[in-house]
Every structure is written in C-alpha cells, then in structure tokens.
C-alpha cells in the first residue's frame, strides 16, 4: 500500500491531461484512479465528486489560459495585442481540447468569482484601452471579442468549418484584422 501521493492539485491535473487525451465527457473518477493505480474512493479525499473534478479541471484551464494571455498581451497594445490574444485562445483550444471544453462547465457564483475568469475579462479590457471607447462601449466590445474568440474556437473544434475552403487559419487572421478595424471606427461611429 505504498502511497501514491495524491493531492487535489495532482488529481485535477491528471483529470485535465485525461480530458485532452480522451475527451472531457469520458473523464471519470475510475479512469483517474486507474492512472494513479489507486482505488476510486481514495480520490474522495481530494475531490468532492465527479462534478467537482470537472470544476477543478475548468479552474486549471482558465488559469493556464489567463497566464498565456497575460504573457501575450504584455508589451503589446492595439492590433498587436488583439491578434496575440486571439491566437492564445485559438491555440489553446487546438492544443488542449479537453481543458478548453472544461472552461464551459458551469461554476457556481462563488467559484467563478475566485477563478481566473475575471482575469480574462480584465485582459480584454486592457486590450481595448487602446481603442478610445466609452465605458459602455468597452463592455460591448469586450463581449464581442469574447464571443468571437470563443465562438470561433468552438465551431472550429466541432467541425463547423471542415469541408470548406479557404483554411480556417486565413479566416482567423482576416477576422482579427477586421475586428481591429471595427474597433478603430467604433468611437467615431457612435459619437
């Protein structure tokens, strides 16, 4: 009965890796236990439930994405920051599909507030600071950017862009370019 050295952290990380390998919906406590060569009930000292495991995976993913996003926008502004941020989300969705899916699980209000979610919101606002928008317009713009980033990654992953040309990569670059142009003209249009 040599100890496996489980912690909430390690269990959640194993769950996240598993999600990327086999898909989030197939992540089970049983499979995680198998990975650690441990019996299922042992996991309950570290996660409260199967749903809790998924929430922990979501927290990991949100934090990892926020860290990458922070690096990407550091030292950049305007279009450069916008493009860099966009690439972070798309790349993360491609490289860590299970983790990315986890970011869509519903967290209770308290957990969500303590997550890296607010960091994402503030990063969007940081990027938008270059565009001279009013308070409300900045909110609208942040919601638009969030929608485009998430929507594109989600649709690309679910195969919505398959079987059509040109390659999604081209659309992505074009879209980021267009968003920049749109934001530039926003304050002008809505004065």
């Amino acid at each position: 009965m040599a100890r496996a050295g489980l912690t909430t952290e390690r269990v959640a990380r194993a769950g996240a890796d598993l999600a990327d390998e086999i898909g989030l919906e197939r992540v089970t406590l049983s499979e995680v236990a198998r990975r650690f060569e441990v019996k299922v009930p042992s996991l309950y000292s570290h996660v409260r439930s199967s749903d809790d495991l998924r929430a922990q995976i979501a927290l990991i993913a949100l934090q990892e994405m926020a860290d990458l996003a922070a690096s990407a926008v550091a030292g950049r502004s305007g279009q450069q920051a916008l493009v860099a941020l966009g690439h972070v989300y798309r790349d993360y969705g491609r490289d860590f599909p299970g983790r990315y899916d986890a970011t869509q699980v519903r967290l209770d209000a308290e957990t969500a507030a303590a997550s890296a979610g607010p960091r994402h919101a503030s990063m969007l606002r940081a990027v938008l600071r270059a565009y001279d928008l009013s308070e409300d317009e900045q909110t609208h713009a942040a919601r638009l950017l969030g929608s485009v980033f998430h929507g594109f990654v989600s649709l690309e992953r679910s195969g919505g862009f398959a079987h059509s040309t040109p390659a999604p990569q081209q659309s992505w670059e074009h879209i980021l370019d267009s968003l920049d142009a749109m934001l530039r003209s926003w304050s002008a249009r809505h004065d």
Copy 2:
C-alpha cells in the same frame, strides 16, 4: 404491457424536452424510459445508444433552428436579415437551452452532412449576399457571423456576462449593428 407507442421521433423529442428541463448532461435513457413508463431496453429499438439519443436531439435542434432562421430571413435582406437571424439564435439559446447545447455535440461526418447544418451555412451566405463580398470573403464573413452568434449565446448562457452592466441585450443590438457596418466596409477595405 400496453404499448407506449414509441418511435425514434418521439423518443428523441422527449429527450430534447428533457434536456431543456434538466440540462443535456442529465438526459439519460433511464430518465426518458421513466417518462414513457417503459423499461430502458425498450428504447434500444428506437435509438442505438445513449450517444445516439444525444445526436438525435442535436438533429432536432439544428432543424428547428434552421426552420426559424429561414422564416426570419424570408423577405428580408442586408441589416434587417442579419439582425433577424441573430435574434433567432439568441432566442433559441434562451428558450431551449438543452436543445441548444445539443447542437454542440460532435456528429460523424455522414450524419452532419445529412443534418440541417448545411442549411445554416447557406442561410448565412444568403444574408451575406447583400454585402457584395468575394467568394473567399463571404466564407470569412460567414465564419465570423457564426462565431459571434454561437459565442455570444454560449457565453451568455454560461454566465460570462452576468454581474456586469449594461444588460446583454444592449450589447447584442450594438454588436449586430456593428457587424452590419463592418460588412458594408469590407469589400472596400480589401480590394
């Protein structure tokens, strides 16, 4: 053992209703069987598996949304069509959350091709016809619109816009308005 009158159609519809009531992830064959006052194995004459049930729900949702979208864009063009289409997706996501979630399940290529998915793509293209775009630009634009529509609905549903003002409704209108303006200027910018 009075017959319950099950069909693939009725089972799938019950699953869809259930998804809206209790959430897609909690839709189980057991629960559907309970609704029909039938034993679980009886369902296997009508759906191949639990995953198949979810796929059937997705097909229903895609078709219902496509029908609503077709009605919305009929007799409209340009900005009016764009706004109407946007409202269809957002309203559907609000009114039928379980069905909407089902539209994100991965369908195998064959099923996807036979689904209403392509109708959605062609409807986006129909709306874009008013904007005088090249073939490739139309594709980019369709992907952008799809991303914004899906992304906004998805984020709003997962609580991403909660706890902040102004109301998402205002952002939505502003965003649709801005997309129209963007598309108008697209062909000019990319000549």
